[in-house]
Symmetry: D2
Subunit: 353 residues, 4 copies
């Protein structure tokens, strides 16, 4: 190991862990020291592919290992809090798969622990690091779309049913983090509905509407029981509109110079004085760089230079607060639930403690 | 005119009227006698294309014309009730563009008037007559999909903003009528959210969740302000699933032999004992017959032989009751609203009268 | 009939004839006087839809009718020459479905007859009047694509097998006319291969390569026996490239800012010093105006004002010469055949006469 | 290393080499001992990802290494012959990236050398090992498509210009190998045209027609200068037809129950008595197993058990003979060239030696 390399431990080698190991392996600034998983078959798979990486079935080995500077956690959601807290207490920086923890209270405690120890706490909201979302954010911030009217997203597939979280904690979490990242406003209330089609399983399908203080609205549709994979987002603005299809290999973002004009001629007595503009479509070139590579670079920058993570604790807290409010609205068949701002949430949690 | 031909009058020659005139013109069993519209430019257009059709700017001319047996109404929604009632009172059968009338009360009065006079009252729920919806209904009734888990539809375009109705009365009405037609159960409650992005205009975007007595759920997303046209419906069953894309020129319906199995092997401790089946996809051949042609044939059959219309008054009443409940839920930001069954609605209206 | 209206006769009411009748009917400057077809069922269909249009089974009725100024011919290819010649001799302007006639010799005779009588002779190369091809021509002429490297087109469907012409005379004719219209150069030789899969039927599948004097090349693939419809053209230039998909409802033309650079860095010893540029994609807004409407307007302009048709006799001659050369190459399994320029062809035909 | 593991050496770590190293690494029956490449930057990349793999810039190190049983060659085409011959002479089994060698003569010599030493000689015609091509072969052999009318393929992208081979040796090679594998007949002649748009570079675009003894025909269109990637094959049969799109993530193969009937009713005098059948479409479930994984397993089986490779020397010889004939046809602007059968080619080469 070169002196300048950051030592990395990874816990969990199921669905996402292999991506973490691969990306930390190819980054010259980091070295994967050890991977921990309870499944010995998986540990053997690591040895076959990465003979130099150590493997263990005991998480404590990672915590005690002084060569390890940071730990990446890719285990089931209900274990995130405990594993992350232990890592922070062992003086390790942490990168946790989304969602950071199953409640605002637990997220707040992790934020406090990381703050106290001046350690980096980052949640793996991977989509924020995709070239596509970065381009969309750039377009929105530049004002090119005008006023933002709506964000409407569908994320569906014949997905992995999770045991410990429902579909919104698994899939809608991506959109909630993207919405906070690209819109310069926070939702104030949520109405959501959800359904469970497998007895004893959490909701596998949900529809979420987020209300903002202005006319902007966001809607997220998620489904684990779809025959085809869908990853599609429509963003409507007063000047232009975006269709973002993450499954498109190259033209992921299409910007439409379409919209309405309010002083247009009326053709039909039934219509308002609303005209329609149909202009060109434009698909900006999108880099093909893997998001996790960018995220790993950003994580290294945060650890080394004390930079505040784009997807740090407060970002995670905002997302978890929305997911929690949406879950309560689902239980009440769409009854709207107010969303608290993260600072309020944090203070409330602290007051309670 | 052959004796056996049914004489047709059409009122309204805006967006939909030309389709009515064309379909009644090519059907050998009917003859378009006269078309009424307030716009003289449109009347001239009719003369250019159909020199034999009479035109008038006075609707009364149609009512008084004894050669006219039935009147097709394709005018703005707020005029439907008055025009349909006058036609029935003049002894004409009527075919009304959807929605039949803007409230359950007005629909009930039309049903009563038609019943009293033994006239056909039919609402133009065109989609029920498409070969695609007919095929879907056949697949669902045959049990091929197993238990129906969900119906999830998106209907969006850079559409015609309507002055007198919002987007759910314009677009969701299609899905509500389809849902009632293909599922053998009726929704019992609705949660809906909607947004208005043009000051002074009705809602141009809405999301509706329909709850049923069992685990089945329906969701309808409608949008007048979308950069691209979308007409896509997912139907999930316990055995198979359907993707219905009405914009596909030929393969409109795809049936996926995909789903979940509950006794499958567990690969990951995070997962339930849920397995995934990924089988073949099958796209049944769909006739290309125009829906309105089938609908016109059915209307003629109803008028001539006293057959009860597939999309008759009670069908319209069910749809309007759902649209009305959804509108109330939108006003309450998603708060769920109970849906009354049509017979209850009818009795309530009569009791009030 | 208004004095200013041009009287139109149409012969042939099979696949294409109804489009001609409809477009001449809606154009206020023309009036369809009479339609001739040998099939009485079709004549009845015309009467049902256009009661004011006269119908006849004798073509001579059209020739003798003094109210008719121009005749549109939509009959099988082998009848084009005879019908067009008779129309010209009767003093009528003519618009003939493509291809104008089955040989360069017959085309030349029609050109001569029209010239002598100062009548408009136009061939219905419909694609030249589509907004898409007009936009492509504009882009190419503006130099936006740089030097044109290639035109590569596929036109396939489960098509109507023609009795009297093979697939290149039915489908490739479109591309040949487009190529002549958008490229400012003419092909000098052709190599083509073709196959016949139905005994006793003409070739139903063919591939044609057109050579030019420079490095530019055109390839056209046509197929009557394809399970799905394809209408796709790639145009490569030194600066930009176009993908034109005529089946796309709105984004028919996509312009890619992609290409190669010759001084780019070499990453691999196997590669030349060729770099790759991957820039944005842009889909210009394309009008949805029906091509035949534009073509009818142009035909009226030619007849009234003596304007030379975009798709006149010489244009037809160029196309027929290429089709003829391609047919000879097919017979010789791809052996290249030289293409004569239209003026040479015309002179050769005259010399022979 | 377990005794039972096959020791693998890989030469060339450019575009394809990393896939070979990865697939041999994850297969428990093989172990990558050493990788050779002239570029030291690449060797460092290997060490970062596979610390246990040895690296060298001298190919001789692989030849001399007794732990190495087989060598995989992924270097530029002009080096294949020399490297493969040296490997065989060193007693190693060889797997060579396609095409095996740049001429039938060199391929023959490799076949002879491998035969003499009873070593496995396999060419990496990867597509033969894809689940999609395996399924197509199964469908064709079962007779489900009826008589095969045509194979028509397009393989285009903004590709890597090769220095030492033209586009047919790079891309058409895939189709030629597939055609031989799935059709139970061999082409007897070829007509091809090609173009070069970069001065000093080999042909970057080509169209190839293969003639068979019967009415079956194959066409392959390849292009290094396409703005979008295309990997699409149409296969037409007398009973059914296939569209195979390798870029589709899941529904790669669509089987259309469409075709023509010869005794159908005639609607139009222009048409033959040919009817059209438009039935269902069916997309069989295709495994997502990586082709190279299957190929590696087959290679191991060949080496260990003396099984004859699906893509062995004679298969390579057939492909190279077609590529060579096509190149000659290109030079003669489409003039057809006769294709010799591999046994003839081999004997001719031996006779010359």
């Amino acid at each position: 190991m070169r002196d300048s390399q950051l030592g990395i431990g990874v816990v969990g080698y199921g669905y996402w862990g292999p991506n973490l190991v691969r990306n930390f392996s190819v980054n010259p600034a980091t070295r994967v020291i050890s991977v921990s998983d309870l499944d010995t078959g998986r540990l053997a798979a690591i040895k076959q592919l990465y003979p130099a990486v150590e493997v263990t079935s005991r998480y404590e080995d990672l915590l005690k290992d002084t060569r390890i500077d940071a730990i990446a956690i890719a285990t089931p959601v209900h274990t995130h809090y405990e594993l992350a807290l232990a890592a922070l207490k062992a003086g390790k920086h942490v990168l946790v798969e989304k969602p950071l923890a199953p409640s605002a209270e637990l997220v707040t405690r992790l934020i406090d622990e990381a703050d106290r120890r001046r350690l980096t706490l980052m949640v793996d909201h991977t989509f924020l690091y995709t070239p596509a979302v970065q381009k969309i954010r750039e377009l929105l911030l530049s004002g090119e779309l005008g006023d933002i009217y709506y964000y409407d997203s569908t994320r569906a597939s014949l997905g992995l049913f999770q045991k410990d979280v429902n579909v919104i904690w698994d899939l809608a979490v991506h959109d909630i983090s993207i919405i906070h990242h690209i819109l310069d406003r926070a939702p104030i209330a949520v109405s959501a509905t959800g359904s469970c089609h497998v007895v004893g399983s959490p909701e596998n399908m949900a529809h979420i509407t987020l209300f903002f203080a202005d006319a902007c609205v966001a809607h997220v549709s998620v489904n684990w029981l779809s025959p085809v994979k869908v990853r599609q987002t429509f963003i409507g603005g007063s000047k232009k509109m975006i269709v973002y299809d993450d499954l498109e290999p190259t033209e992921k973002i299409k910007v439409y110079d379409k919209g309405i004009t309010l002083d247009g001629p009326t053709e039909d007595a039934r219509e308002l004085r609303i005209g329609y503009r149909a202009g060109d479509m434009w698909a900006p070139h999108i880099s093909t760089k893997e998001a996790l590579q960018t995220e790993v670079e950003h994580f290294i920058d945060c650890v080394r230079n004390g930079v505040a993570p784009i997807s740090g604790g407060m970002s995670a807290l905002r997302v978890v607060e929305v997911l929690d409010a949406a879950s309560r609205s689902i239980a009440a068949q769409g009854n709207p639930v107010r969303i608290n701002q993260p600072q309020q949430v944090r203070e409330r949690v602290r007051a309670r403690a």
